[in-house]
Point group: D2
Chain length 477, copies 4
């Protein structure tokens, strides 16, 4: 059975070699510090049994025909792309933010596309490596990271030009059995709780950079890998339990200190001409994912703002209605751009469909420039209370609880507990370290707006637009 339970996932994490560092200590993967982040991933396993989600979550492996988790699947049709987008939106609603696991989905699709293209051009055998790896990945319902962003050093120099060659991860040795790599990947989400690191290049390269053009998969607890983490979890609750407050995330610096990778897990090694292509195909896939997940964040902001307005008795107020409508429009323009990217997807030589890069970029861009604005809208509608409400402990303290009950009243209709639950949720969602994390993810995850602008104009046929102008103006060249 290729669908695993969340308990099976957690159990295998617990068995891994401890090579995770967090907040000053080396920890095991069943350390309580990782509980909330791991809960987010566990949701993606549990969701296959959820009546509302299972039709989206469970798909068939195009390799084996077996039911698998869609997060482990390739996009073999336009309809698969539509479903990916829907799945991400629906799942994010449940965890109140990023489900994280699509990182791997998009990386696998990108590796699939580009290994085939390298093979087509060079007669290499990477695509077979990939397919074998994918069978293993699907059969075990694995979780992979996207180990992409290098340390990068001097931002104006290429890998081979850095004063320290390790500032981009690179091959330091090749032998019969495999390769040895050195370097570090930064900002790696899920670092401490993935099964595998999926390593891909972070940028286009030139011939000098061939040693840095490398892609592979490696178990997360392999020898000489160190995972140094920043864990961010929702503000914990004492008695006022809420699903939102059970989830978290961890990012990490993943250090590769002469790590051995067997050839059968290598997907690129020296083909520098394809480094940029792999980075770009991943970006296109992942920005398409954002066209699914970011509208979900907007949905949460929208629903929460609407509820706050309702509890405050101002839900008919014209400026509230107007601001809520703008949130709808933001969410749906992003989502529409994702639909368009899927509708105009290209079938690659591997059989995998890649969403139209232009529309993945416009959707992700629009998400990125609006995320702070959305927090602003929710903040504005909620009022100052999320930043000043005394902590839950004071609500539970019999000396102060009755005061907090009495003085939060919005009239007789809404019970005080509902108000406390709502405004505490808003506080946790918008006025916390976790909120900061989400704001950064909203701007930079999948590529910041400035990167999408580059993506948009890179492939845009500006000359044809100038020709239109010349035609209308009667200018003949």
């Amino acid at each position: 059975m290729a669908l695993k339970t969340s308990e099976e996932y957690a159990a295998r994490l617990a068995r891994m070699r401890p090579n995770v560092y967090a907040h000053g200590k080396k920890i095991r993967r069943d350390d309580p510090m990782l509980e909330m982040p791991i809960n987010t991933l566990k949701f993606t396993f549990d969701a296959v049994n959820d009546p509302e989600l299972k039709d989206l979550l469970v798909t068939e492996s195009h390799l084996t025909g077996e039911p698998i988790n869609r997060f482990c699947s390739l996009n073999m049709s336009i309809d698969d792309l539509y479903k990916q987008q829907d799945m991400k939106r629906r799942c994010c609603h449940r965890v109140g933010g990023c489900t994280q696991r699509c990182m791997a989905t998009d990386t696998l699709n990108a590796i699939g596309v580009v290994t085939k293209e390298i093979d087509d051009a060079r007669g290499t055998g990477y695509f077979d490596h990939f397919i074998e790896f994918l069978k293993y990945y699907q059969a075990n319902d694995l979780v992979g990271s996207t180990a992409m962003t290098d340390a990068k050093g001097d931002r104006l120099r290429r890998p081979s030009q850095q004063h320290d060659p390790d500032l981009y991860l690179h091959v330091v040795e090749k032998n019969d059995k495999g390769i040895v790599v050195k370097g570090a990947k930064n900002h790696i989400t899920m670092g401490p709780y993935v099964d595998e690191h999926l390593v891909i290049p972070t940028r286009a390269m030139k011939e000098d950079d061939a040693d840095w053009a490398v892609s592979f998969a490696i178990p997360a607890d392999a020898e000489n890998i160190k995972i140094i983490s920043r864990v961010v979890s929702a503000r914990p609750r004492i008695e006022l339990d809420a699903p939102y407050n059970t989830f978290g995330v961890a990012d990490s610096v993943v250090v590769f200190d002469n790590v051995f990778v067997p050839w059968e897990r290598v997907f690129m090694c020296g083909e520098w001409q394809f480094a940029g292509r792999l980075a770009q195909v991943f970006a296109g896939q992942h920005r398409h994912s954002y066209c699914g997940c970011k509208p979900a964040i907007t949905d949460i902001v929208l629903g929460t703002a609407a509820l706050a307005a309702e509890y405050n008795g101002v839900e008919k107020s014209s400026h509230i209605v107007d601001e809520l409508t703008e949130l709808m429009i933001i969410a749906e323009l992003i989502f529409a751009s994702g639909i368009a990217a899927a509708a105009r997807a290209q079938k690659t030589s591997s059989g995998i469909y890649t969403p139209e890069f232009l529309y993945s970029n416009t959707g992700r861009y629009f998400a990125g420039i609006n995320i702070y604005h959305e927090y602003d809208v929710l903040n504005s509608i909620a009022g100052g209370l999320p930043s000043t409400i005394p902590p839950e402990a004071d609500w539970l303290n019999p000396e102060t609880g009755p005061d907090l009950e009495k003085y939060i009243s919005r009239g007789a209709k809404i019970p005080a507990e509902k108000l406390h639950r709502l405004f505490r949720f808003i506080s946790d969602f918008t006025c916390s370290a976790m909120a900061g994390w989400s704001q950064y993810a909203g701007v930079h995850g999948g590529g910041s707006p400035v990167m999408e602008k580059i993506g948009v104009r890179a492939g845009y046929d500006l000359e044809s637009k100038k020709k239109i102008a010349k035609h209308l103006a009667g200018i003949k060249d």
Copy 2:
């Protein structure tokens, strides 16, 4: 042959009964004042022979199988909707603005959808009327107006509540042969040069308003119709010919002073429950059209700004590149929303596909709020010259022409004539009465942004979003 030439179109206009008033006079339809506006429509006839456009422009009648102009066709598939959107974008590039003729396309589709729905509900025979009319329309390659917007009087009252019943067009008599109607339709684009007026209601109605719930087609020169017009044409040229300067537009008040309509041309008469539906289906179709034509306007702005930057030698300047990229994103987000509307279109009982209303609205909305911004960008990049450049007559005057040639130089590379052509085009496109018309059309055509906001939220499932918030916050009702 169902495809007519532009000369045939012009000739039949010339034969019509003169009932057009313009700028203080009653005029014939071959009056020079109408030449530029009619040129715009003539383009839509000529385009069927244009190698770059004919595949989009010519389609097959689903009624007769004959080749017809796509502007006369119904959308019988999602692919038809994709093609409509592409056609509009491509055609607008050629006339430098609105092609106008899609008004009728969208109205015919809307009448097709709703006459069938009325028949389904009431056992009336409107759909047959419509199909017969459509055969005639397609066979003759006709041009129709959308005679929708009533005078409206007091904006806060329904038709039956107005102090003057004529402020909404209404039925004043019914007999064996047909109906007699009275009232006026305002803002009617193409009024002086359509073959037929396609009359539909402008709003939802209640039972009292049954006499105002009326839809029909009527020859534009029928008895008792008066067409009072405002003609706006591009600034004319003396010698520096340019395609842009050959086009124009006219809007009009179309007065119906007891006009007889035979039953076979009546599509609704008293079914007030369907008045709002017809208005809305038209709006959905037409806002989808805007997702095709507005990106074309942006394309023109973009290409022109890029050309101005190139001629000024600043095309690599980072803030220019950035502003041009933003134009690309605006255009493509609107277009993407149109693609999404088509991808999620609904098949109605008539067989006609209606684009998803939500995405037609988000696309049109985004166009509407950006139009002035786009003029701003072009203005900013062009500099002040389009507003201060001495007229063409001074360029042609031997006493001043050499000065204007000498002092427009941007260095030696770009000939002065090209500079004059470009900056005069920008002047005509952005700094003229015609530009004002385009700005108004950009905001209000197809419904102003405030109407799209209403459209978006009308059908939006806000409750489901509140449920997401309640779930995350642990609020149980």
Copy 3:
């Protein structure tokens, strides 16, 4: 000597009756939990000895001629208003955010203006009460809260219409010696570390609300006062000391459970006609303060973004320069509006100058709508690192520290420690609970943008603008 030291301030806090509750416990005012918030206030005492600040911080009492802290002074001239604005900007730079103490300054000024106006109209003696209280306040260099915002209950009802009369603070008893009040004030910044609560009404009232029209000063540890607090401090540091990480803030619900106030400390009692006036004069003063402090926040965002760009080697990049310039413009437009408010200040009957309400509002409004945008800019320029950088403990851990040193390199020029210091500061400033607090304060403090819009249009002479339109259009009434 009317200038006290920060130690004297802290010592008197330590002597107060413990009536502060925080995070589930009753605490003394020298509890470590309050250390960082109190540090912020201590800065305002220390600053009188700072060579760069003392000329702004120390002024002369217009009552006694003695040197006092400007935070305890009244604005007796336009120049005082200019200096207030400068002082706030300069002080906020030092604490990296809100200095808090101006709440009292603005409240004292407002009470001064309105007690005189009540006396003028009613022959009461409130202004004398106020002057006596102010002498005491200045002589002891006190810190006061602005206890203004009531619980408010049903937002659509006035105080006397609430289902629970305590939802607005009100007088429950009057006798020879004084009054007894009941209710609660919410969102009260500095609640746990002020000497005095300065209580003023939160809104305009009608005759029925006379019992709720009450203003007074009361020691913060008076009988029957309970202060329930939310403490927010900067993320603490282990070894990488930084001034920013020594400051904090606390807001509180201040519960008045039948609190006695002697007449000589009462400034309004029943004069409901002046409740709205007092609320508005305070709002005008405090929004003027925001025209000083919010530019300081922008200065910090600007300086930090510029430094991040410099360390990343992209400080000459055109889009960076452009974004930094926009921050300059935001800061200076807000500041300019404050200067204008001062330049057009009105002298009131008390001799106190009130800044022009219109310009206090436009400045504060512009700050409020831009705060999230500013965080967005800093986030965008900083990149994702502030949200993913492993904690300081990992930097100090010898097993991981060297990796974090090696892989943060931006080339050889900038030492790793400086990079760690900078990006940790950005993390603490923008991606933390404290950042959330600042975002809420940035929107709602002193009145949210929607309140400033109301403030702007309330006094705006729209009729005169319509007359201009009528004149130009040739419309004669």
Copy 4:
């Protein structure tokens, strides 16, 4: 008497040597084509007798003590700057746009400041030339242009680097009596109806450019000057007279084909180090003027939108109220920035006060980025009618007038004629060639937003902001 009448002004124009070219012909200055533009200037003469304006318009010459028109005065105090700003706002209300004449005021002030500075540094006698010229200018109540912007050729090269030396105006000969200059100045507003051209450099220069560093005053009809004009007048009226429709503007290319200037009218000749300074002082003065006149444009937009909303019966609609409030805020932030610039003005060695450059720039910038938005708001509130309303001739035509009367009704309360007047005014103001001119002037007049950004950051102390960041972050250099 130094105050002249508008008739005297027109009479002296009529007497000038005809050297104006317009729309293909050489014309006299009393040609009807120039009537509307000249009306705008005549207003500035008539206003000295207007009871509402004369206190602002009439001031005392600081040279002679005589009453003069403030447009001819120097700013000898901060209060003069306040009054300049007020005067411009009030006057623009009356002509419905730019009053034009402040061009000269600002140029005279700038020449005054910089001639003194050159004399201080070089011992030249330019300031005396200037003072003598100013006496003559004031005594005759003259009108001057700002002949500043050169043809500029290749935008990336300095004057001395151009392929044609005339692309910047330059000195071709010097002799005992004066100098001879060649070149052209572009975009020269009021070209055909000024008494004098006030010529100043358009940019900073280097030593090679010394021949291009030249400033002087010259009668507009001097030998070898040619003025080639683009005239833009409001849409003329037949019977529905309206003040707006009596005004216009003309810009021009002013060609200097070996023009002789006597030494006593030369204000700079070769002092290239001061070319940039003169350009900048003028820019600072003129951007300050925009802080007065642009709010007036916003006032007109605001009043007109408010009136349209009132006539349409939707003036209480929340989104209308909100949009009108935003217009108020835009106007007042610009105006506030002007007040701040005056409040912090510097007294120069000439005695003239120059407004703080930073705040002149922020105010002008904010005006420039909002102008299109303001047209958008008015358009949105007005609806489509201004672009589709049949011309006045149809309203006067007895065959169509009654229809246009009947069907414009907004209910019984507002007479049709008022509606026609209002919507025709909006059409003329927003949907006409004149509107295009105003949009361009709104963006580029006085320097486009990109120039103000450069102005803002040029003098901004960014290093001090970085120091704040370093202090807070604990970074020690």
